[in-house]
Symmetry: C2
Subunit: 119 residues, 2 copies
Protein backbone atom coordinates (compact mmCIF):
# COMPACT_ATOMS: atom_id res chain seq x y z
CA UNK A 1 0.00 0.00 0.00
CA UNK A 2 2.44 2.63 -1.12
CA UNK A 3 1.36 6.24 -1.08
CA UNK A 4 1.57 8.24 -4.26
CA UNK A 5 3.94 11.08 -3.69
CA UNK A 6 3.73 14.53 -5.14
CA UNK A 7 1.48 16.05 -7.71
CA UNK A 8 0.35 14.52 -10.90
CA UNK A 9 -2.23 14.97 -13.59
CA UNK A 10 -3.95 11.86 -14.90
CA UNK A 11 -6.10 11.85 -17.96
CA UNK A 12 -8.43 9.01 -18.77
CA UNK A 13 -9.99 8.61 -22.16
CA UNK A 14 -13.14 6.64 -22.31
CA UNK A 15 -14.72 5.79 -25.65
CA UNK A 16 -18.43 5.14 -25.24
CA UNK A 17 -20.52 3.22 -27.72
CA UNK A 18 -24.02 3.85 -26.43
CA UNK A 19 -23.90 2.67 -22.83
CA UNK A 20 -20.89 0.40 -23.39
CA UNK A 21 -17.31 1.40 -22.68
CA UNK A 22 -15.72 0.41 -25.99
CA UNK A 23 -12.28 1.48 -24.82
CA UNK A 24 -10.73 2.95 -21.71
CA UNK A 25 -7.45 2.81 -19.80
CA UNK A 26 -8.15 -0.64 -18.31
CA UNK A 27 -9.15 -2.16 -21.63
CA UNK A 28 -6.09 -0.77 -23.42
CA UNK A 29 -3.81 -2.10 -20.67
CA UNK A 30 -5.50 -5.47 -21.07
CA UNK A 31 -4.95 -5.44 -24.85
CA UNK A 32 -1.26 -4.74 -24.27
CA UNK A 33 -1.05 -7.61 -21.78
CA UNK A 34 -2.75 -10.02 -24.17
CA UNK A 35 -0.30 -8.96 -26.86
CA UNK A 36 2.62 -9.70 -24.50
CA UNK A 37 1.29 -12.85 -22.88
CA UNK A 38 -0.51 -14.45 -25.81
CA UNK A 39 -3.31 -15.53 -23.52
CA UNK A 40 -6.36 -13.94 -21.90
CA UNK A 41 -5.92 -15.85 -18.63
CA UNK A 42 -2.29 -14.82 -18.23
CA UNK A 43 -3.11 -11.26 -19.21
CA UNK A 44 -5.92 -11.26 -16.63
CA UNK A 45 -3.51 -12.42 -13.92
CA UNK A 46 -0.99 -9.73 -14.87
CA UNK A 47 -3.71 -7.06 -14.80
CA UNK A 48 -5.15 -8.34 -11.48
CA UNK A 49 -8.49 -9.16 -13.10
CA UNK A 50 -10.53 -12.32 -12.84
CA UNK A 51 -10.54 -14.41 -16.00
CA UNK A 52 -14.26 -13.78 -16.29
CA UNK A 53 -13.81 -10.02 -16.04
CA UNK A 54 -11.02 -10.00 -18.64
CA UNK A 55 -13.08 -12.18 -20.95
CA UNK A 56 -16.07 -9.81 -20.62
CA UNK A 57 -13.86 -6.81 -21.40
CA UNK A 58 -12.54 -8.51 -24.53
CA UNK A 59 -16.06 -9.47 -25.54
CA UNK A 60 -17.28 -5.89 -25.14
CA UNK A 61 -14.41 -4.53 -27.23
CA UNK A 62 -14.96 -7.11 -29.94
CA UNK A 63 -18.65 -6.22 -30.09
CA UNK A 64 -18.07 -2.46 -30.14
CA UNK A 65 -15.65 -2.54 -33.04
CA UNK A 66 -16.54 -3.48 -36.59
CA UNK A 67 -13.89 -6.20 -36.53
CA UNK A 68 -12.56 -8.04 -33.48
CA UNK A 69 -9.52 -6.68 -31.63
CA UNK A 70 -8.66 -10.05 -30.07
CA UNK A 71 -8.90 -13.55 -31.48
CA UNK A 72 -8.79 -16.46 -29.08
CA UNK A 73 -8.25 -20.08 -29.95
CA UNK A 74 -9.88 -22.78 -27.85
CA UNK A 75 -8.15 -26.07 -27.14
CA UNK A 76 -4.72 -26.95 -28.52
CA UNK A 77 -1.42 -26.93 -26.66
CA UNK A 78 -1.80 -25.11 -23.33
CA UNK A 79 -5.56 -24.72 -23.71
CA UNK A 80 -5.53 -22.25 -26.56
CA UNK A 81 -4.18 -18.77 -26.66
CA UNK A 82 -5.23 -15.31 -27.70
CA UNK A 83 -3.71 -12.75 -29.95
CA UNK A 84 -4.41 -9.27 -31.16
CA UNK A 85 -5.64 -8.70 -34.66
CA UNK A 86 -4.00 -5.95 -36.76
CA UNK A 87 -6.94 -3.73 -35.72
CA UNK A 88 -6.27 -4.55 -32.05
CA UNK A 89 -2.68 -3.35 -32.43
CA UNK A 90 -3.76 -0.26 -34.34
CA UNK A 91 -6.30 0.67 -31.68
CA UNK A 92 -3.61 0.55 -28.97
CA UNK A 93 -1.38 2.83 -31.03
CA UNK A 94 -4.15 5.34 -31.67
CA UNK A 95 -5.22 5.39 -27.99
CA UNK A 96 -1.67 5.90 -26.71
CA UNK A 97 -1.13 8.64 -29.27
CA UNK A 98 -4.32 10.28 -28.05
CA UNK A 99 -3.00 10.27 -24.48
CA UNK A 100 0.35 11.61 -25.53
CA UNK A 101 -1.06 14.43 -27.66
CA UNK A 102 -3.48 15.42 -24.90
CA UNK A 103 -0.66 15.51 -22.41
CA UNK A 104 1.46 17.72 -24.65
CA UNK A 105 -1.44 20.04 -25.47
CA UNK A 106 -2.27 20.66 -21.82
CA UNK A 107 1.25 21.13 -20.47
CA UNK A 108 0.81 24.88 -20.05
CA UNK A 109 -2.43 24.53 -18.04
CA UNK A 110 -0.92 21.81 -15.90
CA UNK A 111 2.09 24.02 -15.13
CA UNK A 112 -0.28 26.85 -14.14
CA UNK A 113 -2.26 24.61 -11.82
CA UNK A 114 0.87 23.21 -10.18
CA UNK A 115 1.87 26.68 -9.04
CA UNK A 116 -1.30 26.89 -6.94
CA UNK A 117 -1.13 23.43 -5.43
CA UNK A 118 0.50 22.54 -2.15
CA UNK A 119 2.77 19.51 -1.67
CA UNK B 1 -32.88 6.11 -17.11
CA UNK B 2 -32.12 7.42 -20.55
CA UNK B 3 -29.66 5.56 -22.70
CA UNK B 4 -26.73 7.41 -24.17
CA UNK B 5 -26.96 7.21 -27.92
CA UNK B 6 -24.11 6.99 -30.36
CA UNK B 7 -20.39 7.22 -29.95
CA UNK B 8 -18.53 9.63 -27.82
CA UNK B 9 -15.12 10.19 -26.36
CA UNK B 10 -14.95 11.42 -22.78
CA UNK B 11 -11.78 12.65 -21.19
CA UNK B 12 -11.46 13.05 -17.48
CA UNK B 13 -8.65 14.99 -15.92
CA UNK B 14 -7.80 14.15 -12.39
CA UNK B 15 -5.24 16.20 -10.50
CA UNK B 16 -3.71 14.18 -7.68
CA UNK B 17 -1.97 15.68 -4.70
CA UNK B 18 -0.45 12.62 -3.08
CA UNK B 19 -3.42 10.32 -2.50
CA UNK B 20 -5.97 13.13 -2.62
CA UNK B 21 -7.93 14.12 -5.69
CA UNK B 22 -7.28 17.85 -5.69
CA UNK B 23 -9.43 18.38 -8.77
CA UNK B 24 -11.49 16.26 -11.12
CA UNK B 25 -14.64 16.55 -13.22
CA UNK B 26 -17.00 16.26 -10.22
CA UNK B 27 -15.14 18.86 -8.19
CA UNK B 28 -15.02 21.35 -11.05
CA UNK B 29 -18.76 20.89 -11.67
CA UNK B 30 -19.32 21.53 -7.97
CA UNK B 31 -17.24 24.72 -8.07
CA UNK B 32 -19.34 25.96 -10.99
CA UNK B 33 -22.53 25.17 -9.09
CA UNK B 34 -21.34 26.99 -5.98
CA UNK B 35 -20.48 29.98 -8.17
CA UNK B 36 -24.01 29.95 -9.60
CA UNK B 37 -25.93 29.13 -6.44
CA UNK B 38 -23.89 31.03 -3.86
CA UNK B 39 -24.33 28.18 -1.42
CA UNK B 40 -22.76 24.75 -0.83
CA UNK B 41 -26.08 23.17 0.14
CA UNK B 42 -27.87 24.39 -2.99
CA UNK B 43 -24.90 23.42 -5.15
CA UNK B 44 -24.94 19.97 -3.55
CA UNK B 45 -28.61 19.56 -4.37
CA UNK B 46 -28.04 20.64 -7.96
CA UNK B 47 -25.13 18.21 -8.32
CA UNK B 48 -27.08 15.35 -6.65
CA UNK B 49 -24.58 15.15 -3.80
CA UNK B 50 -25.25 15.01 -0.10
CA UNK B 51 -24.34 18.19 1.75
CA UNK B 52 -21.70 16.25 3.66
CA UNK B 53 -20.13 14.94 0.44
CA UNK B 54 -20.08 18.38 -1.16
CA UNK B 55 -18.59 19.88 1.97
CA UNK B 56 -15.85 17.22 2.02
CA UNK B 57 -15.04 17.89 -1.62
CA UNK B 58 -14.72 21.61 -0.95
CA UNK B 59 -12.59 20.88 2.11
CA UNK B 60 -10.25 18.65 0.09
CA UNK B 61 -9.86 21.29 -2.63
CA UNK B 62 -9.20 24.00 -0.09
CA UNK B 63 -6.52 21.88 1.57
CA UNK B 64 -4.84 20.86 -1.70
CA UNK B 65 -4.45 24.41 -2.95
CA UNK B 66 -2.19 27.02 -1.40
CA UNK B 67 -5.19 29.35 -0.99
CA UNK B 68 -8.84 28.34 -0.63
CA UNK B 69 -11.02 28.02 -3.73
CA UNK B 70 -14.26 28.48 -1.78
CA UNK B 71 -15.07 30.70 1.17
CA UNK B 72 -18.19 29.98 3.16
CA UNK B 73 -19.86 32.25 5.67
CA UNK B 74 -21.70 30.79 8.64
CA UNK B 75 -24.86 32.39 9.98
CA UNK B 76 -26.29 35.61 8.58
CA UNK B 77 -29.31 35.93 6.34
CA UNK B 78 -30.35 32.54 4.97
CA UNK B 79 -27.83 30.64 7.08
CA UNK B 80 -24.68 31.86 5.38
CA UNK B 81 -23.55 31.34 1.85
CA UNK B 82 -20.48 30.33 -0.07
CA UNK B 83 -18.57 31.94 -2.85
CA UNK B 84 -15.59 31.25 -5.02
CA UNK B 85 -12.37 33.11 -4.42
CA UNK B 86 -10.53 34.60 -7.41
CA UNK B 87 -8.34 31.47 -7.33
CA UNK B 88 -11.46 29.28 -7.40
CA UNK B 89 -12.65 31.01 -10.56
CA UNK B 90 -9.20 30.83 -12.12
CA UNK B 91 -8.93 27.10 -11.43
CA UNK B 92 -12.24 26.46 -13.25
CA UNK B 93 -11.01 28.40 -16.27
CA UNK B 94 -7.70 26.54 -16.40
CA UNK B 95 -9.38 23.14 -16.03
CA UNK B 96 -11.95 23.82 -18.76
CA UNK B 97 -9.19 25.12 -21.02
CA UNK B 98 -7.27 21.89 -20.37
CA UNK B 99 -10.27 19.83 -21.46
CA UNK B 100 -10.84 21.93 -24.53
CA UNK B 101 -7.19 21.84 -25.65
CA UNK B 102 -7.03 18.08 -25.10
CA UNK B 103 -10.16 17.60 -27.13
CA UNK B 104 -8.81 19.67 -30.02
CA UNK B 105 -5.42 17.95 -29.93
CA UNK B 106 -6.92 14.47 -30.14
CA UNK B 107 -9.52 15.12 -32.82
CA UNK B 108 -7.57 13.23 -35.47
CA UNK B 109 -7.20 10.10 -33.31
CA UNK B 110 -10.83 10.23 -32.30
CA UNK B 111 -11.87 10.44 -35.97
CA UNK B 112 -9.66 7.41 -36.74
CA UNK B 113 -11.18 5.37 -33.93
CA UNK B 114 -14.73 6.27 -34.93
CA UNK B 115 -14.22 4.68 -38.33
CA UNK B 116 -13.63 1.31 -36.65
CA UNK B 117 -16.48 1.47 -34.19
CA UNK B 118 -19.96 0.13 -34.76
CA UNK B 119 -23.15 2.02 -33.91
Amino acid sequence: MSKTKGLNCRSRYRIMSGDLIALGPGKVDLLESIDQEGSISQAARQSHLSYRRAWDMVDTMNRCFKKPLVISATGGKGGGGAELTPLGKKVITIYREMESKASQATQQEWNSLKKYLTL
